[in-house]
Symmetry: C2
Subunit: 220 residues, 2 copies
């Protein structure tokens, strides 16, 4: 496994260090509940931040995309990147504007991506990505043919240099503000799946599969 | 307003250009529905991507934070940044793994942040930020005192160099795949507010305000 001692100076949480989490198991739980990351990379001194989906397999994240995309073209150059995953859990309403906050869980990973060249690993990675986002789907759908495999780039990001930041719980007000008549508490927020929409060209005998009907990101 | 012709070479959508949106009104609608952005900046060749809340006022985004945070310390140096806002609308399940996609709306803004120094503009910006996230809250909560104002940095990001990318609608399969018996369609995803949780120290006579009971990000 990694030789890097977590946190490094670069991943140490500076602000509100009491909310820092460096535990790999906690970080994996956050990464497994999420499936959209924001990838940062720098081209000609200009940072770019691109949202994309990901999958985790052990101590690696896999990202995929068209070989034509700006993200994939840049990342293949083995430049330093930052992968950030953020789960928003609620608005925290304190009695004072100043103490308003959010409940969230976020992970940042610093490192370099490498291109998955081996055909077998590429398939394993694509399956991991698919199953990460929607368990059960891979076996149900038509799997990639050789031409599609060639048109897809898969990148591997090691989870070595990382940190997480987590806020939970009620607002924390200044002592003298607790007597104010302002409502205080938390508005929980959650990503909520709606009722699956059939494709218009669907075979009428085809019904919504279990994994699509009860979609949830909860992984506990 | 801006002298920059949108898109620039840096914000032009490379991959799937048919999903590109450069219209300011559409971009504002996305920015107004969202309230969490991912800010990218580079320090010693290492990009960082940090989630934070924001508010929009006309052609500017406002970001705030503790003067002690890594994000705010870096951004005050007037370095190039990228602000990305992503709204996830659904999982798009095609008959082939290769044509799986997501419905989303995302905006990227390139530019530089500047520190809001003027006390009055700072208050206006903080109010805009608060009202952007939770309309009605500012007037209901205790507003910032001088000490709190000093401890808060507010940054202004001009919305000048930007682009959006939007995908909506059903899956698009290869013609020969439409006859496959695989279910295809969309699982809609939406951020869903839960029932507000009273703070344990709440005055028993205090009830959940209207704006917290019916929280929604829809801005149409």
């Amino acid at each position: 496994m990694s030789e890097i001692q977590t946190p490094t100076q670069r991943t140490r949480v500076v602000r509100e260090p009491q909310r820092a989490v460096y535990d790999r198991a906690v970080v994996y739980r956050i990464l497994d509940e999420g499936f959209i990351c924001h990838v940062g990379f720098t081209v000609d001194h200009q940072p770019f931040v691109i949202p994309t989906s990901y999958g985790r397999r052990d101590a690696h994240l896999y990202i995929h995309g068209s070989t034509a995309s700006r993200l994939l073209r840049a990342l293949k150059e083995s430049i330093p990147i930052c992968v950030t995953v953020t789960l928003l859990d609620g608005l925290v309403l304190a009695r004072s504007v100043f103490n308003h906050s959010m409940n969230y869980r976020s992970v940042i990973i610093l490192g370099k991506a490498s291109l998955v060249e081996d055909r077998e690993e590429k398939l394993v990675a694509l399956r991991a990505l698919s199953e990460h986002i929607l368990p059960g789907r891979w076996d149900d759908a038509r799997q990639p043919n050789e031409q599609e495999l060639k048109a897809t780039s898969v990148l591997r990001v090691p989870i070595e240099e990382f940190s997480a930041k987590v806020r939970t719980g009620p607002p924390i007000d200044d002592q003298e503000d607790y007597s104010l008549p302002t409502w205080a508490g938390v508005i929980p927020l959650e990503m909520h799946p709606g009722v699956p929409l059939n494709d218009a060209q669907l075979d009428p005998g085809c019904s919504v599969p279990e994994y699509a009907r009860n979609y949830s990101r909860r992984r506990d």
